[in-house]
């Protein structure tokens, strides 16, 4: 009973942690972008204020049950991913529900969120939402290919489909997979660019063209839910990458440093990139990233 309570507490803490860190990263990203653009930019806690404000909106509208549930879907996805991804190496406190085979599970879970949200966006009846959704789903199909190739390469190479195992292997070898399987890492990293939907791949919610696409009908609390879930999800993804490729983290500080370093990749790549059209994005992912994925698989099979 005690351990159950303990683990529930751990889950709650990790949730809060993910929310906080995610939000901060988002805020920092705004700040960094602003600095790159020679602006002062908002304070790093700006996103908290925004979230607060959104939550404090006194009215709200919905276009039906699915619309109402859409943000909930994506929140569920984020939390589920977070639950499965181990946060620290061998931590008794963050006993996440990681289990043998969670990599495959994750592959699926991570695609579920966009679909759930797409359903919500669909019911709004706003054509912009639907267009955004189609773009989003198309891009998802694009970046899933290198991503899945990378994951499979990992599975072949280390003969496991458990994240914890992979972390342990890295700990045992004392060497990050990032270096021991460079192709895998490159493929996964390139796929991550799509996952974050930062700049070259941000046509999904093009603010002017599509009026922010899928979320164009969401205001107030819905937007709050989506914002927080995307922060949580971002943290979850970063943690996953750290676990898979950078040997995990022994304490929170290391984790934060590593994730932040990783986070800089899509962010910085985004700030200097123009925008791809959807088919260009899809083809991009099926080009070099998939090639690296293939290389990774071949490498894993033959070496």
């Amino acid at each position: 009973m005690e351990s159950l309570l303990y683990s529930i507490l751990g889950v709650l803490v990790s949730l809060i942690l993910a929310f906080t860190v995610g939000m901060t990263y988002m805020g920092l990203s705004r700040k960094i972008t602003a600095r790159i653009q020679n602006r002062i930019g908002p304070p790093f806690y700006q996103n908290f204020i925004d979230a607060m404000k959104l939550y404090s909106k006194s009215t709200g509208i919905h276009h039906g049950v699915m619309h109402h549930l859409g943000p909930a879907f994506i929140m569920v996805t984020s939390v589920m991913s977070l639950m499965i991804i181990p946060i620290l190496n061998d931590s008794a406190f963050f006993t996440n529900m990681n289990f043998h085979g969670d990599l495959i599970f994750l592959l699926y879970i991570m695609t579920f969120g966009p679909l759930g949200m797409a359903l919500g966006a669909g019911q709004t009846g706003n054509p912009n939402s639907a267009i955004g959704v189609t773009r989003g789903l198309s891009q998802m199909v694009g970046f899933e290919i290198p991503w899945v190739m990378a994951i499979i390469a990992l599975m072949i190479r280390y003969d496991t489909s458990s994240i914890v195992d992979i972390m342990n292997i890295q700990a045992d070898a004392g060497r990050w997979i990032m270096f021991s399987s460079p192709f895998t890492f490159i493929a996964a990293l390139l796929a991550m660019l799509g996952m974050f939907r930062y700049s070259p791949f941000d046509i999904v919610g093009a603010p002017t063209e599509l009026a922010s696409g899928p979320m164009s009908e969401n205001g107030g609390k819905y937007l709050f839910t989506m914002m927080s879930s995307s922060s949580i999800f971002a943290f979850a993804k970063l943690t996953l990458y750290v676990n898979l490729f950078m040997g995990g983290a022994d304490n929170l500080l290391v984790l934060i440093i590593k994730t932040f370093a990783l986070y800089m990749v899509p962010l910085l790549y985004g700030t200097v990139s123009p925008r791809y059209r959807t088919e260009q994005a899809v083809r991009y992912f099926w080009g070099w990233p998939s090639f690296f994925g293939l290389l990774a698989i071949l490498y894993a099979v033959f070496f």
């Binding site: 705004r30 602003a34 653009q37 020679n38 602006r39 002062i40 930019g41 908002p42 304070p43 700006q46 204020i49 925004d50 607060m52 404000k53 959104l54 404090s56 909106k57 006194s58 009215t59 709200g60 509208i61 603010p207 002017t208 599509l210 009026a211 922010s212 979320m215 164009s216 009908e217 969401n218 205001g219 107030g220 937007l223």
Partner: protein, 181 residues
């Protein structure tokens, strides 16, 4: 406890703080004032440091910027957009045109006083107001929000009939749905 008046006050205070520092702007480029928005937002003046940020749709926005003169034709859209925004919401009138018609005061199809049609919280004077003035306007609005005086939306609800009458006066073929807030 939540219903307690004092605690409500505290909550309001926090909320107002958040609202004040997070103004998501729906810049309705009705007139020439729209040209002043980009400099306001970009490097030189950088309104984002105040928490001001563009919003894509009225559903997400807190603040409606009426940038310049309003033709009767545009007015209809502006009203529509305003009504689609979620409470609490604010309106900033931009330039002389929104105050008294400005240089179009005798035009047959622009409106002269925006206040007759929408509850304006802050006017920014000038033709055109420079970005500094715009930022001053934002700051003024923030002050009003802190003080709890930016209650244009409440006023609009209260005096809806009066506003509607005025709106219908200038807009022929009134086909808008009823204001459902």
């Amino acid at each position: 406890m939540i219903n307690d008046k004092n605690s409500q006050k505290i909550v309001d205070h926090i909320h107002n703080f958040a609202r004040k520092h997070s103004l998501w702007v729906l810049a309705y480029g009705t007139g020439c004032g729209a040209i002043e928005i980009p400099p306001t937002m970009t490097s030189r003046y950088d309104a984002e440091r105040l928490g001001v940020r563009g919003a894509a749709t009225p559903r997400q926005a807190d603040l409606l910027l009426i940038t310049g003169y309003l033709t009767t034709k545009t007015l209809k859209r502006v009203i529509r957009v305003y009504e689609q925004m979620q409470d609490p919401k604010y309106v900033i009138g931009f330039g002389s045109c929104t105050i008294n018609g400005g240089m179009y005061y005798d035009s047959y199809n622009t409106i002269n006083a925006l206040d007759r049609y929408l509850p304006v919280d802050v006017y920014i004077n000038g033709c055109m107001p420079r970005p500094e003035a715009v930022i001053a306007g934002f700051t003024k609005l923030q002050e009003l929000i802190t003080a709890g005086k930016a209650d244009g939306a409440a006023k609009y609800k209260e005096k809806l009939e009066w506003y509607r009458k005025n709106q219908k006066n200038v807009i022929p073929n009134w086909t808008m749905p009823e204001y459902n807030w």
